[in-house]
Subunit: 321 residues, 2 copies
């Protein structure tokens, strides 16, 4: 069995374009450009909690990095570097090679250097810490939303939750299960969008625990309330995949694993944001607005009726308990 | 049961002295001082592999951070920031509070900001990524050792391995089990020493997998061989704790969990290094020297006999397989 030292060197060492020293010493070394703030985030995926133990390792490698890049994108930061800590019940060389391929596919796509790692025996789990740069003072936090700001969401949130429902057999008869499963296994971090929204979005986060729950976090951090317009919610892809209205809404509002960007921006930025959507070829839906005072989130139907929605997002402790 | 969001906020949020944004957003934000390189390292501790599941949580909190600071110290970097990813089989509030206390005790001692985190349900394990600063070009890698350089080691390596032997009952009758158990549970990262060795040490690493194995890594990275002087090995504390000569040597050479600094420095630096040892009150033993050509590591006895020692360091896959 190869040693711990060799595992990292053999599978996770590729040339680092933006680092002075990569994998193989006690620490990696790199420089942060002048005038930049460093943005740092960390996320763990655990077998049986965040993915099925028999998940395809190539997808898992992609997703392990992608979910972290999504967090950097949500700050408007450009991702640059990452470290990987992986624990494995045993050393399966084919599995490791495929996992590394998926991880480096994502790293290459977004220009990330994997600069360090740790491998150990243990239950299957992986933790990535991703680091990015953002011009000082331009990062988009969760806290800057103002009353009257539009609320926007990227992509097709809810698809991954539908994919999970398909995988677990909780829902039957799927005319089209490709896009939900792909959304679940290969989330696309909105890196270019996040960076492009600097100066336009006033508050932002990535939706990983369901739109309702994460909107709740944005409202709480910004000290605002929110109204969502039911008719504006991006449900088309969910309907096309075969979900009825109730399931589509449930997946969208309280699903998880979306890694789409939810942001608040002033109405004056509408044209710029619409132009950005075309330019980056990323669907952006304007789904509601913030209200000035803290208040429960309201969902407004086409006929004017409103209901309060609770932020019952996907919670790893609550839902797996 | 508190939500994932609350877990991080409740137990791992303290004011960040050197960060623009800490725990609670999608990513942390901080600035790296001009002229500095960032040093980044990551290490995982898994229950049943790196510690006993019933280990005291306060010690575990300390150690989780300390082992990462040791890696930064081994580069000569000043530790500044850290993130924590923790997976827990269940939420035990007392355990979490004690773990957080131990972690912040270490963070406070060394001036570290915990800037981000992730908590999830899963087998008990924790991954810390630690970040530090080092003036560009002054980091001490494993690769700079030259033939004729002295080899130095800090502290009392082997004590932690003796502590493990005591804990597992592998060895009996201990006149003094305090210092070995303390070494195992509360390793002291040599932060001040690492920084002070900039400009003096030519190659350095931290000894976490046994002196022989880690010296092998230093030799390999520097492209050198090494000779150790048996009479110079720091065995006093091991003998005082009750270990006989054979056990003391085994703990020292192929133990683990030491987190002492092993470094190569030119003979001209001897006086400065001895002065540093007094000034920092850290024992430093000069245990041998590097030879110019790659070669097996030799152990030279007081009577002149030499034996080859194999770098059979502590390996998480090999020893737990």
């Amino acid at each position: 069995m190869p040693s711990e030292f060799d595992l990292i060197r053999r599978y996770f060492t590729r040339p680092a374009a933006h680092a002075d020293l990569g994998v193989g010493d006690d620490a990696a070394l790199f420089r942060v450009a002048a005038g930049m703030q460093l943005a740092v985030t960390t996320d763990t995926l655990v077998a049986g909690v965040h993915f099925f133990p028999d998940a395809a390792p190539r997808d898992l490698g992609w997703k392990t990095l992608a979910v972290n890049l999504s967090d950097l994108a949500a700050m408007g930061a450009t991702p640059r570097w990452a470290t990987l800590a992986i624990s494995l019940p045993s050393v399966d060389e084919d599995w490791l090679a495929a996992f590394a391929d998926g991880l480096f596919e994502c790293a290459t796509r977004y220009g990330i250097d994997l600069v360090g790692g740790d491998s150990t025996r243990g239950p299957l789990a992986m933790t990535v810490t991703a680091l990015g740069e953002v011009p000082a003072g331009t990062a988009i936090t969760r806290a800057g939303g103002l009353g009257g700001d539009d609320l926007w969401i990227s992509g097709q949130p809810g698809l991954a939750a539908l994919g999970l429902a398909i995988l677990t057999g909780a829902e039957k008869q799927w005319p089209n299960d490709h896009s939900p499963l792909r959304a679940l296994h290969r989330p696309v971090p909105r890196v270019e969008l996040g960076v492009a929204l600097r100066g336009a979005a006033r508050a932002m986060l990535d939706v990983s625990d369901g739109l309702a729950g994460d909107l709740g976090h944005l409202c709480e951090c910004s000290g605002r309330g929110a109204v969502l317009e039911a008719a504006a919610l991006p449900l088309v892809a969910l309907r096309e995949a075969g979900a009825d209205e109730a399931l589509a809404r449930r997946c969208l509002l309280s699903g998880g694993d979306d890694y789409e960007l939810l942001f608040a921006a002033p109405p004056a930025a509408r044209d710029d944001i619409a132009a950005l959507a075309r330019q980056l070829d990323v669907p952006l839906a304007r789904i509601g607005h913030l209200v000035a005072e803290p208040a429960p989130i309201l969902l407004c139907e086409a006929d004017g009726r409103t209901t309060e929605i609770t932020p019952a997002g996907f919670d790893h402790f609550a839902t797996n308990g």
